[in-house]
């Protein structure tokens, strides 16, 4: 689906200090891959680059079997930003309609009924006509997630989509997301700080180190059988994996 080779990125034009340096990773079609790493290590920046919002300073991104530039990717990859970025002057429904307004890839009625269905599923049916400032943080986040789904793109970049949700609501969303992912041919790249979430959902997890000296990306394979469900939390294999992952994370952070 997408493969990133030796990517570097620097915000400052003199390129003295790089946020990302010589980073490589690969996501196969239909895979669910999580990215975890310390705060400020460049996860969101990486997503922005993949989405095509910034051109990397160095390196190559192979997308749809060819070397690609930011412009070719921009608009073809669904991106859920870390801040919800709901338009404050639009109701929930109109916010969700935004991707459709841009792409017009379906009939409007169809899109609305699809959105209504999802709102129902996410427990947000009642707030369809509310404005974002009348919503709680978690509600906003779910709507931003919903909006990302409406784009219908095959590759989805989700930047901490469930960070502001309580355990139970989050579980609902996980169920829904895995269902979606199983049913449709979606590829998901997922940033999270919740290790259990990462293990529960992912095929593979990338650990970003955030420091220049160490290997910038480490791969961690989650070899749990699918379908998975949240009760697995207390499964010893799951706990083992979690402990492993935590150690790996801790190692990259300190040593």
């Amino acid at each position: 689906m997408i493969s990133i080779n030796d990517l570097s990125y620097s915000f400052d034009p003199q390129r003295k200090y790089s946020v990302l340096s010589e980073l490589s990773m690969k996501v196969k079609h239909g895979e669910f891959v999580s990215v975890i790493g310390p705060s400020g290590c460049g996860k969101s920046t990486l997503f922005k680059i993949i989405a095509g919002l910034s051109e990397p300073t160095n390196g190559d991104i192979i997308w749809q079997e060819a070397s690609s530039t930011a412009t070719t990717r921009l608009g073809n990859i669904a991106y859920m930003p870390q801040q919800d970025l709901l338009l404050p002057w639009r109701t929930v429904l109109d916010n969700c309609l935004l991707p459709w307004e841009v792409t017009q890839n379906r009939s409007k009625a169809e899109t609305i009924s699809m959105i209504r269905e999802m709102l129902e599923r996410f427990g947000l049916a009642e707030v369809e006509q509310a404005y974002p400032n009348e919503l709680s943080g978690g509600m906003r986040q779910r709507i931003a997630f919903l909006r990302t789904l409406v784009t219908g793109a095959e590759l989805m970049l989700l930047d901490e989509p469930f960070g502001a949700l309580d355990a139970i609501t989050k579980r609902e969303m996980h169920k829904w997301l895995t269902g979606l992912w199983d049913g449709l041919a979606k590829t998901v790249l997922f940033i999270t700080h919740d290790l259990e979430e990462a293990i529960l959902l992912s095929d593979r997890i990338y650990l970003m180190s955030g420091s220049q000296s160490k290997a910038p990306m480490q791969e961690f394979i989650v070899d749990l059988p699918r379908p998975r469900h949240s009760a697995m939390n207390y499964d010893p294999r799951f706990l083992k994996l979690r402990e492993d992952l935590e150690r790996r994370l801790y190692d990259t952070h300190t040593s």
């Binding site: 919002l53 921009l74 970025l85 002057w89 935004l98 841009v102 400032n133």
Partner: protein, 259 residues
């Protein structure tokens, strides 16, 4: 239940009305005591009398003429002004190329240009509308241009990832964000339209409140002149209030930004 809105109005406008009354009384007194000669500043009552006496002429003939110029000039200002502002926002080159000319158009005293206007437009309505436009389009340009410049970087990027083109960005993000600033421009503009119409009528013509006021000034009839000036002010006020109302309705429907 019936009293509440009345009370609210009284609270909001009570001070305004009191101030107005107080000023009117002061004014009347000052004139009556001949501290200011009435031919320089007539008393409010004389102005009112002149207004009533000339009501048919003023309301029947001159007010409609001026109103027409104002409305046409305003529409032109809004349309061309926002087009200019948007164009300048979209192209840095256009901005650099046009801004100087726009500013020049504002610093040239219209009276200096009046012969050119007469040369081009004669004494037609078009000439007057052109003067109104010239007096009133600048705030619309600045309002829309400055409004469109307003950040919204995050929203922009989001829309770009959805495959938005320039047009989408403009209509979905930048115009909604620009609206408050645009409305500031409109509110200034409508007020300037009134003065623009007055100036336009001075440059030549045979009707309109500006024409009437000047004619009465020439005739040394201050009461009548001030009656026309009063109507001009009232016109400006009413048009301004209509815009404020429109603004309120528009922004009431919108959820307000949290930050």
């Amino acid at each position: 239940m019936i009293l509440t809105p009345l009370k609210r109005y009284l609270r909001d406008y009570g001070l305004a009305l009191l101030l107005l009354l107080f000023l009117l009384v002061c004014w009347e007194t000052v004139v009556r005591l001949k501290w200011i000669p009435s031919f320089i500043l007539p008393a409010p009552t004389s102005i009112w009398n002149a207004l009533v006496e000339n009501r048919r002429l003023l309301f029947g003939q001159h007010l409609p003429a001026t109103l027409q110029e104002v409305i046409m000039g305003f529409i032109l200002s809004v349309v061309l002004g926002s087009l200019l502002g948007t164009g300048m926002h979209l192209s840095r080159r256009l901005e650099k190329a046009l801004y100087p000319f726009i500013i020049i158009s504002q610093t040239i005293p219209l009276i200096a240009l009046s012969p050119i206007f007469i040369f081009w437009f004669g004494y037609s309505l078009a000439g007057k509308v052109a003067v109104v436009f010239l007096t009133a389009f600048f705030p619309v340009v600045v309002g829309s241009f400055d409004g469109l410049r307003k950040g919204g970087e995050g929203y922009r990027e989001l829309l770009l990832t959805m495959g938005a083109n320039r047009w989408h960005l403009l209509t979905k993000i930048q115009i909604p964000l620009a609206l408050p600033s645009f409305f500031s421009g409109l509110k200034l503009s409508i007020v300037y339209c009134v003065i623009g119409a007055t100036i336009g009528e001075w440059l030549g013509g045979s009707k309109g409140l500006g024409y009437f006021s000047r004619r009465m000034a020439g005739n040394l009839q201050s009461d009548e002149m001030f009656a026309a000036v009063f109507l001009l002010s009232a016109l400006g006020l009413v048009l301004f209030l209509i815009l404020v109302l429109l603004e309120k309705i528009l922004f009431m429907k919108r959820g307000s930004s949290n930050s």
